[in-house]
Structures are given as C-alpha cells and as structure tokens.
C-alpha cells in the first residue's frame, strides 16, 4: 500500500524504534495517560534544571501513531525551556510527521497522535502548581490539555 497517508516509512520506523524510550527514576515531571478507547498507555518522564528541560523519556504501550508522535515530541522538547514548551501547539507536532490531516479525517486516531502532548501539558501544569507553587506560570495549560481532543 504505497503512499498511505498515515503509515509512512517514518511512522513505521518510529513505531519499531521509538526515540527516548525508557524510564527516568524519580523524575521531576511524571505523567501517566491512556486512551481507554484504544488502549494506548504511556508514561512521560521529564527532568528540568531550573526551567530548562534536561532529559525526556517515555515508556508504555501504544499504536504506531502514538509511538511515533510521542517519540517526535520527546525529540522536539529536549533542551527547550518550559516556557517554550508550554506554548507548543499540536499542529507543530502533527506537521513533523505529516499527520495534520488526522484532525479532519480521523477524530478517533487524533487521540493516539496527541496523547503524549496532553500528558506533557498536564505534567508541566502539575509541576508548576504542585512543586513550584506557581499557579501563574501554569497559566491555562490544564484547559489547553483538556481541549486537545
């Protein structure tokens, strides 16, 4: 099936060999999330130095779309500041894998693609509100995460 709009070489490759796959012990940010519908289930681990992300890893089980998108997300936020990552938009992530069309074509599969971004936004929100006691810095990340899909 050549030219499949979803299952590109890149996605298959990432699903086979996900980037930053593994666990960080006692991370500063840890968020578990799952899609009850399809059974994607991931744990995202992030360490920060001040406000800069120093390490990102994830583990769990998921479909090719979820594995590929989570891999790309972890690559994209490595060494970024939390402020930069806070404003990270779903289009940027989807574009990286050529999956922008999913927003329109597959309301079901878009959840697989954006699960990790949702986990990240919630994770940073909790980090700001619970560990840093800085509700202002957390902004409306929680609402943003909830409205991703």
């Amino acid at each position: 099936m050549s030219g499949d709009p979803i299952y590109t070489e890149m996605i298959i490759e990432y699903s086979r060999n996900p980037s930053n796959f593994g666990k960080i012990e006692n991370p500063q940010i840890h968020r578990h999330d799952s899609n009850p519908l399809c059974g994607d289930s991931i744990d995202l681990y992030v360490n920060v130095d001040g406000t800069k992300i120093t390490d990102v890893k994830f583990d769990g089980k998921g479909c090719a779309i979820c594995m590929a998108c989570t891999s790309v997300l972890t690559e994209m936020i490595q060494n970024k500041t939390l402020d930069e990552v806070k404003n990270f938009q779903k289009d940027e992530l989807l574009a990286e894998l050529g999956l922008e069309h999913l927003i329109k074509t597959s309301p079901v599969r878009i959840k697989c693609a954006l699960l990790s971004l949702k986990a990240l936004k919630y994770g940073i929100y909790s980090y700001f509100t619970e560990k840093m006691n800085d509700v202002k810095a957390a902004g409306n990340l929680k609402e943003e995460a909830a409205s991703l899909y």
């Binding site: 298959i12 994607d40 089980k61």
Partner: protein
C-alpha cells in the same frame, strides 16, 4: 428470507439494508463487528416503524384501544422470549435495558441481601467489565471477597480453580460468561452449573454472546440467573433480558422504585406488584421490546442450529486462512467445537488500532481495543486485540476480504 437450499447468508442477506452500504472510497461494507452489535433485518426496522405509526401508547394502565394493543404486543414479546429459551413461566422474563443492567439488578437486588462479609463471589478472567465491576462494587460494599477462575493457554477456564473456590464453602455466587466476547470460548456451562449447585452456590450466566448464536435451553441449564441483550441478536438497542428463578425473584427486593412496580402506595409504605412488573419500574422501552419480537421470529424461522452451523463453517474457514498470514497471532481455543464465531488476533509488534485503520480502508469493520475485558487483556499481556466476529449474513467472500486486508497489514509493517 429466501429458499432454504441456499447457504444461510444468501438466504437472509437481502433482508439487511445496511449491508448494501459502500464505505471509504466506495468499498463494499464488510461488517465483522457482530459481537459488538448485529445489523437489523428489514422485518425489525419495519416493526418499529409500524409501532410508532399505528400503535404508539403507554402500556399496562390505560384502557383505550392503543394501550391495549401496545400492552398485548409488549407481553407477546415476553412470551416469545420464554418460548425461545424454553422457559415455562414467562413472568420470570424481566425486561431491562441490556445485559449490563440485568447483572447490576442481580448484584443490587439479590446481592445486597445475600452476600455478606466473609462470603465469596467468583467470576472469571474472561468476563466483560459488566460481569466484573458490579461484583467489585458489591464485594467492596459488603466486605465479601471477589475471586477469579483463570484461563489456560487455550483461553479456557481452569475449572480446578472453581473447585478450589467452591471447596471453601463460602461461595455465594458464581458469575460466568456462557461465551467469551473476546476469545469466543464456549464455557462448559452445564459442568460449571453442576459444580456450583453441588456446592450450594448460585450461578449467574452472562449469555450476551450465546443466545444470539446458539440454542440456549434455560430449563435444561439449571442456572439461577441468565442475562442477554437484544441488540446482539438482530434486535434494537436498549433492550435486555434478565431471566431468574421465580422463587428468587419473589424473595428479592425491587431494584428500582417507581410506577408499574407497585401494588399499593401509601405515605410510608408500598406493596410490590407481581412478577415480572416488580422489577420493571417506570415506562419501559415499549417500542424496542415490541420490535424485538420480530428479531426473535426471524431467528426462530432460521433455526438456532442453522445459525450455529453457519458460524462454525465460517470460523473454520477463517481460522484456516488466518493461520497462514505472516506474523498473525490468534488467541482462544482455535477449535470450532469449543468456540463461537469470534476470532481475536494480533500481529506481532503491530498495535490493533493500526490494523483496524488499515483494513477499514478496505471497508472491513472489525473491532480493535480491549473489548471491555481489561482483566483478560492483562492476562494475555496485551494492550488490546483485534476481533472479527461473524453472524448469519457473513459470507466466505467477506472473510476473504478480511484475509487480503490482513496480508496488506503484514506488508505495510514489513512482517
């Protein structure tokens, strides 16, 4: 339905308008998600239209003509179901909204008065969430213990574990599927029921995947509670049946209070209506119960042995072909004598949702996910599976389309 010299699918296919659908770039629909819900024949669709066009009325109260007609039609369904299941007393047939509600009814109305701290409720690893969660709620509330019968590598119950549980003498109820919704495994239900009876435990059978697919004879089974849903057997959504022994129903408190379930209501006290109405509070799903009769008629005309034989043939055909697809892992008994028309499978290293998405492009509808059976998914050590499930209208050509699509998946993922 056409002549009976043809295969079952050829006889009945033209009765199902939706099977004419084209989907996803004009592909013929191949509907293989029958364990989730079946399609509806024109006879059922016409029955619901006829009801709303010509008879619509509330039941059991008013004396006008429409109310009389509706009440009669509603009760005719009850009688037909009783006959279909070989139940002698039709008042033992309680209408609910589905299998889930039937089980919750038992957990609440029977469980709360009969299960106490120190007692044991037993369920199995291959249950649907609807036959696990109500028992978790009940045992957590009462301080009773919830135990499981595990499955072996063939996806069959390890009945020696049931023996161990029963030997404690503390088991009050065993809740078990007649047929697993994921693996298709047919429980050796008579054996299970006999063991439970010998040990003095009650048995609830979740028949959601059995009644639609094989002859079920409740009188012969000797269980205590039996539950199933209409929409998995050509009928409408929102209707289910709980069958229970009359003496149990008589001693149970009502599940819900309201209209229809009462005899007399006073300021501080109420007396209950007779069976089955004691358990049917409020206006029931009149229209859908009435048109469910058309589904029962349809299946009765075909004959449940023919339904079962058709599914055996299809399952055998599919299992043989699927076993040759590269990288495909099939779960369950893989033996058509011990398996309904349900096949669960995974590709090595390919998530079920990716499989479903790829084959959906060919018009093939299968289910991928945990099938409301996360306990079983844990056991199989997978997040989810794909499931193809057949029914009376499924053809071998449709199985071929499935197989071609699976081969496409193997190719895309370079298996």
């Amino acid at each position: 339905m056409q002549s009976t010299t043809q295969s079952l699918d050829t006889q009945c296919r033209s009765d199902f308008p939706v099977l004419e659908r084209r989907v996803r770039d004009d592909k013929a629909l191949v509907y293989l998600d029958n364990a989730a819900t079946t399609q509806k024949p024109i006879q059922v669709i016409d029955a619901i239209t006829d009801y709303y066009k010509n008879h619509n009325s509330n039941i059991h109260r008013a004396v006008h003509a429409l109310a009389e007609e509706s009440t009669e039609a509603f009760e005719v369904t009850r009688t037909k179901i009783a006959k279909f299941l070989n139940v002698e007393k039709s008042e033992e047939i309680i209408f609910v909204k589905g299998t889930t509600e039937a089980i919750n009814l038992v957990a609440n109305a029977w469980g709360r008065d009969n299960v106490q701290k120190g007692d044991i409720v037993v369920t199995t690893e291959y249950e649907h969430h609807s036959n696990i969660v109500p028992w978790q709620l009940l045992t957590q509330e009462t301080g009773a213990e919830l135990r499981y019968v595990d499955i072996d590598d063939n996806g069959e119950l390890m009945l020696e574990q049931l023996d161990e549980h029963l030997a404690t003498g503390k088991v009050k109820l065993v809740a078990v599927s007649h047929v697993s919704n994921v693996l298709g495994t047919i429980t050796d239900i008579k054996k299970v029921i006999k063991k439970c009876k010998d040990a003095g435990a009650k048995v609830l059978v979740d028949g959601a995947q059995a009644v639609p697919h094989m002859k079920v004879d409740i009188a012969n089974l000797d269980c205590d509670f039996y539950a199933f849903s209409a929409h998995k057997m050509l009928g409408p959504t929102g209707v289910g049946v709980l069958w229970a022994r009359k003496e149990l129903l008589e001693n149970m408190k009502p599940y819900q209070g309201g209209g229809d379930m009462i005899r007399e209501v006073h300021k501080q006290e109420t007396t209950w209506n007779d069976l089955p109405y004691k358990f049917e509070a409020g206006t029931p799903n009149v229209a859908d119960v009435i048109c469910f009769a058309a589904a029962i008629d349809y299946l009765t005309k075909i004959g449940m042995d023919n339904v079962r034989n058709h599914e055996i043939e299809l399952t055998k055909y599919a299992l043989e072909k699927m076993s040759k697809v590269k990288g495909l892992i099939i779960y369950g008994p893989k033996d058509t004598q011990r398996q309904g028309g349900v096949i669960s499978f995974n590709f090595k290293d390919v998530h079920p949702h990716d499989v479903a998405t790829i084959i959906d492009k060919n018009g093939v509808a299968i289910r991928s996910g945990h099938h409301c059976a996360q306990v079983l998914m844990e056991k199989l050590d997978v997040a989810a599976t794909n499931r193809a499930s057949f029914y009376i209208y499924t053809t071998k050509q449709e199985v071929d389309v499935l197989i071609d699509s699976l081969e496409q998946v193997a190719k895309v993922f370079k298996l």
